[in-house]
């Protein structure tokens, strides 16, 4: 298993408490960059800029990945562009929404 795959597995533990769907299936994770010394930079978004769970989800993402063995440091960059859209969701995420 590559480190990227392990990071995505960890990210699946971070659940949006309003929708009860993890951030990967919700399509919130845009990019995961891992440098040679295992410094991780995660670029992500939220479903809406005024999301009340803003801080909780980003700190959850940071903590979940920091816990991974071998990871030296994690930075989470929250972006609003490109804006989140439903087509970024996985089929599993869509299913959980009853679609």
């Amino acid at each position: 298993m590559t480190i990227e795959e392990r990071i995505y597995d960890q990210l699946r533990l971070v659940i949006d408490p309003e929708l009860n769907i993890n951030v990967v299936d919700l399509g919130l994770i845009y990019e995961v960059d891992v440098t040679e010394n295992n410094y991780v930079m995660i670029t992500m978004t939220l479903t809406t800029p005024g999301c009340p769970l803003h801080d909780s989800i980003t700190s959850g993402v940071k903590y979940a990945v920091s816990n991974l063995e071998g990871v030296t440091d994690v930075d989470v960059i929250l972006v609003w562009e490109p804006a989140w859209s439903p087509d970024k969701m996985t089929p599993e995420g869509m299913k959980l929404l009853g679609r």
Partner: protein
């Protein structure tokens, strides 16, 4: 890429203080109404007990809960932190003491009304100032800013007119059209402040809770412009004593509300979340009730013989539109507040409950049916002057109010 800005979260104690106070005021107001049954049935609304209950429900419950909700929602919806939290706590205490003593003095110590009323007014003014200072920092203003800003302006006008009424009652101001000011005070307080505020936050919360995407916000400008025009025309009609203007004003208000309903429906059509949460569904029902009552107000304006029925319409508007909307949204706001306080640091570390699991959703049904049936029966009891039916229905409403209070306090134990 557009990067995020710093954390905007508010100290949870601030909104929670307002919510707890408001629940106590809600139960107290319903108790008073229960004991003022005969006056309600006789249509004698301008009595000390009913004044006290009316101000407890409007200021103590709806306004305090709206202020608490705004302390939580404004930072997240406008991406702007509250200007000064310590000032917020100070404002809470001034408002709480002011509203409580004002409600008591309205009933038992009318001579003190001017002082206690002043204290309540100061509390509300401090809130308006706090929000003004917060919203002016918002980097990118939008239609929500306009709705919420205008609602705050209406609140400011409402309390200014209320103060004028209190001074006139106490000392008397020559040449003052007391009735026109009283009507404007009610119009701006209920339709101006509450409706514009609920419109504004609905535009944020409906898409958020239904996960709607790709909808247009163009209609919101029409809703805003027409509603403001309707308010202006109705306001003018009171001072010019023009029935034509009143009819025009209420018609335009109904049109604006109708467009709002249509707009919300189009937003819901674009939602991803197929099954909506039950309490949120009740907030949506409240929108339907609001439209019906606006329609009834418009129709009533063409039948001057029945103008006394406006009192009943105001009661229904307060309950079926304002109170139902607030209760529905509180089912979302309170669990979120407590969840953030208890679990936000644990997300990603261990299993945390979902927001839905924080609140007993099953109990939402008896609460809403209790309030709904109670309000319908009170309407019938008022129309047919049935005192026994009034007592039974008001007891049902009181029971539903106590149950709702229990549900909210139960969240705070999780």
């Amino acid at each position: 890429m557009m990067l995020q800005q710093a954390s905007n979260e508010t100290n949870i104690k601030l909104p929670v203080s307002f919510v707890i106070y408001s629940l106590v005021a809600f139960v107290a107001s319903q108790l008073i109404i229960l004991f003022a049954g005969s006056q309600m049935i006789d249509g004698v609304f301008r009595t000390p007990a009913i004044w006290s209950a009316a101000h407890l429900i409007i200021l103590g419950w709806a306004l305090m809960v709206a202020m608490g909700s705004m302390y939580q929602l404004v930072p997240v919806a406008f991406l702007t932190p509250i200007w000064n939290e310590r000032f917020g706590f100070f404002q809470f205490w001034i408002s709480a003491i002011g509203v409580t003593t004002f409600a008591i003095s309205l009933w038992f110590f009318p001579k003190l009304m001017i002082y206690t009323g002043m204290l309540a007014v100061v509390g509300i003014l401090l809130f308006v100032f706090q929000m003004f200072m917060t919203m002016r920092k918002q980097a990118k203003k939008n239609i929500l800013t306009l709705f919420v800003g205008s609602a705050l302006f209406c609140l400011f006008l409402t309390i200014s007119l209320g103060l004028l009424l209190a001074i006139n009652l106490g000392a008397g101001i020559s040449g003052l059209n007391h009735l026109a000011i009283l009507k404007s005070h009610i119009l701006l307080g209920i339709t101006g402040w509450f409706t514009l505020l609920i419109f504004g936050f609905s535009y944020k919360m409906v898409p958020m809770f239904s996960l709607a995407h790709g909808f247009s916000m163009k209609l919101s400008k029409w809703v805003y412009s027409l509603y403001m025009l309707g308010l202006g025309l109705t306001f003018l009609s009171f001072f010019m004593e023009s029935r034509g203007l009143l009819q025009a004003g209420l018609t335009v208000l109904f049109m604006a509300f109708g467009i709002f309903v249509y707009h919300i429906l189009t937003i819901l059509k674009s939602r991803l979340k197929k099954k909506l949460d039950r309490p949120f569904f009740f907030s949506l029902c409240a929108i339907g009730f609001g439209a019906i009552i606006h329609g009834a107000g418009m129709v009533l304006s063409f039948f001057p013989t029945y103008y006394t029925a406006f009192g009943l319409l105001i009661y229904l508007y307060l309950f079926c539109w304002v109170v139902f909307s607030i209760i529905g949204y509180l089912y979302k706001i309170v669990p979120f507040l407590w969840w953030t306080h208890r679990y936000s640091k644990l997300i990603g570390k261990q299993n945390v409950p979902t927001l839905k699991e924080m609140m007993n959703e099953e109990l939402s049904l008896p609460i809403f049916y209790g309030l709904g049936i109670g309000v319908i029966c009170i309407t019938l009891a008022s129309i047919f002057s049935q005192l026994v039916l009034f007592y039974i229905s008001q007891t049902i409403i009181l029971g539903a109010t106590i149950l709702f209070t229990y549900v909210i306090f139960d969240v705070l134990r999780k």
